[in-house]
């Protein structure tokens, strides 16, 4: 870490202005159509000020807060993969030239972005996607172009939501790394105005902060920030036990719980598309009347039957196979493939599942059952 600081409330607007002046497209939380989504910000007033989100399995509602908090909510339906691993894009165009054909790559919109108010889970998710899309044997140059200069202003979650379990996944609620600047919101107290405790993560972060009026934090500011982080961890009700989780799932592909959860699953794909790390896509080839062709990449999901369709039929025709594939890949296979869990504990898949399926409950049920069976076999 490169030191810390405090920013008065007005400093938030100055910080956004400084980023815009440096040429960043500032992407952050905004209220739109009854949810907090990610969109471009011009001013601090664009943030969901005085708004909270109430989340539970299959349910999301916004409500007013009694205070003026600027970050008094958690993550909404959008994740930063919208920005770096975009939902749909044309990769290249092909034109017949008489003898053969000519391929032209379509340009990438690589204007640098600043993620403003990024939660710890989402910062971690971006790192997870980096491992898959930027750091593997076959990096996606379009992802890399959009991602490489991104500036990150993270924010600590002081009040985790009811579907959050980042503490279990060791990704939050306080951002540990992956940011240029990280904010902890300190609401006004008698004699102390509304302010933000700032941790500096990079030299670049320091340079941007130096363009904005700030002060050295008091010991009390530091203490409050730490206390808020501790309280946030303590208040998180949802947990996912990760001990031996990989083996638990790999060893139990025929567990009856998979069938039970499959009965509730609508195969709507929402869990995978709101997930900040799911990266699956499909290609469509499109032709024009003039005989030009385009290859278009779009998000896809392992929950559709058509996603695994090959000659003769889908590889995973049953819903049971699809749910098991998703969860086992996310929590187990991912570790073998990319060196970390694919889950950051953001809870989006729980909130945005219309059926309210909660992966932490599914894992806990399999774990409890396997444990009970092991206990029984020891007794016998």
């Amino acid at each position: 870490m490169n030191g810390d600081a405090v920013l008065e409330l007005t400093g938030l607007d100055a910080l956004i202005a400084a980023l815009i002046a440096r040429g960043y497209r500032v992407i952050g939380p905004r209220v739109q159509d009854g949810a907090i989504v990610l969109d471009e910000l011009q001013h601090a007033a664009d943030l969901p000020v005085g708004v909270k989100d109430e989340q539970s399995p299959g349910r999301y509602r916004l409500a007013p807060r009694s205070d003026n908090a600027h970050f008094g909510y958690v993550v909404g339906p959008h994740a930063y993969k919208r920005v770096f691993h975009v939902p749909v894009e044309t990769l290249f165009r092909v034109r017949r030239d008489g003898r053969g054909f000519e391929v032209t790559e379509t340009p990438v919109d690589a204007r640098p972005v600043a993620l403003f108010g990024a939660r710890a889970c989402d910062v971690a998710a971006t790192t997870v996607q980096d491992r898959v899309l930027a750091e593997g044997a076959h990096p996606d140059p379009r992802y890399v172009a959009r991602r490489k200069d991104a500036f990150v202003v993270a924010v600590a979650c002081n009040e985790p939501g009811a579907t959050c379990f980042c503490a279990s996944m060791n990704t939050g609620p306080r951002p540990a790394d992956g940011f240029d600047l990280s904010l902890t919101e300190l609401l006004p107290e008698p004699g102390v105005p509304h302010r933000f405790y700032v941790e500096v993560g990079t030299e670049r972060g320091r340079a941007v902060l130096d363009e904005v009026a700030h002060a050295l934090p008091s010991d009390e500011d530091r203490r409050r920030a730490r206390a808020l982080a501790d309280a946030a961890v303590a208040s998180m009700d949802k947990h996912l036990e990760t001990r031996h989780l990989r083996d638990l799932l790999i060893d139990n592909p025929e567990h009856p719980r998979w069938r039970a959860v499959a009965e509730r699953c609508i195969t709507c794909t929402s869990c995978t598309l709101v997930c900040p790390t799911c990266f699956c896509s499909s290609m469509d080839d499109v032709t024009s009347l003039e005989g030009e062709a385009e290859r278009v990449r779009r998000w896809d999901s392992c929950f559709t039957r058509s996603y695994s369709y090959m000659h003769g039929g889908p590889a995973r025709p049953s819903v049971e196979a699809r749910y098991r594939h998703w969860l086992t890949h996310k929590l187990a296979g991912w570790i073998d493939q990319f060196g970390s869990s694919g889950c950051v504990g953001c809870g989006r898949c729980i909130t945005w599942c219309p059926a309210g399926i909660d992966l932490t409950e599914e894992v806990a049920a399999i774990r409890a059952d396997v444990k009970a069976a092991r206990g029984a076999s020891k007794e016998a």
Partner: protein, 262 residues
């Protein structure tokens, strides 16, 4: 006139809206007319060329014995047959009669019911002849219609994705109206293709594209009931342009049962 493949557009019981989607491709229609030979398209031209046709676009459902004879002939004369719209793919809104007494309907609606010669049921084209591709919707999406024609012209597979509308909402960044507002929405069980039009206006999907590939109406029954919608509202939600689609029939049954169990 084009030397390209010949195109015939045929209408059965329908409102003409789907075939008009082709004329609605204003920016592309001239180029289409250059690429294909429009041989039979009464909404566009009085000049009719006899079959056979390379491609037949078939709109509407089968509701009379005469329709059926005509359909068999269209199939015989067409190399590729594409059904367009909910009437052709599921029987349309007129399939509401399938669960009612047609004679009684006829008496109520027509001054001279004796002139009406109709079948008991309104049925989709695929119930009678082999269909090569289906385009869903009420009406069809003109981009999809154009894409199918282009695909056939270039000998590639059309991009018709049978996944649910939720995929299109999530790609567009549209917030889920069911989860965030408790609005009854058939998106999770409805075939994509419209670009998630209704939810983008904060309305629930009313299923005009009919069932998606899995169409897990049983799994959606609980969430729909939890939205607070009454059983008869849910029955109606499943009883529009795709009322006769088997998965939506199941949705109606479950909604009624949900009412009975309350």
């Amino acid at each position: 006139m084009s030397n390209g493949p010949s195109l015939g557009v045929f209408k059965f019981a329908s409102c003409d809206g789907c075939q008009l989607s082709l004329l609605d491709c204003e920016d592309e229609i001239l180029a289409v007319a250059k690429a294909v030979r429009i041989a039979n398209f009464p909404e566009a031209s009085r000049a009719v060329v006899e079959g056979p046709y390379d491609v037949a676009l078939v709109e509407g459902s089968v509701t009379t014995a005469h329709d059926l004879q005509r359909l068999l002939r269209v199939r015989q004369e067409s190399r590729v047959l594409v059904t367009i719209g909910a009437c052709a793919t599921a029987g349309g809104i007129q399939a509401l009669r399938n669960a009612a007494d047609v004679a009684e309907y006829t008496r109520v609606v027509y001054a001279h019911p004796e002139y009406i010669n109709t079948l008991e049921r309104s049925t989709p084209i695929a119930e009678h002849v082999k269909v090569d591709y289906e385009l869903r919707g009420c009406p069809v999406n003109k981009r999809q219609l154009l894409d199918v024609l282009l695909a056939l012209l270039h000998g590639r597979k059309p991009d018709i994705h049978p996944h649910p509308v939720c995929v299109e909402c999530k790609m567009a960044g549209t917030t889920c109206v069911l989860v965030a507002n408790g609005t009854p929405c058939l998106g999770p069980v409805t075939h994509a293709g419209c670009g998630a039009l209704c939810p983008s206006y904060a309305r629930g999907c009313f299923g005009c594209y009919g069932p998606a590939e899995d169409a897990r109406v049983g799994a959606l029954a609980g969430p729909l009931a939890a939205s607070g919608a009454k059983p008869d509202e849910l029955v109606r939600l499943y009883s529009t342009f795709n009322v006769a689609a088997p998965a939506f029939q199941e949705g109606q049954r479950l909604a009624r049962e949900g009412g009975a169990s309350k």
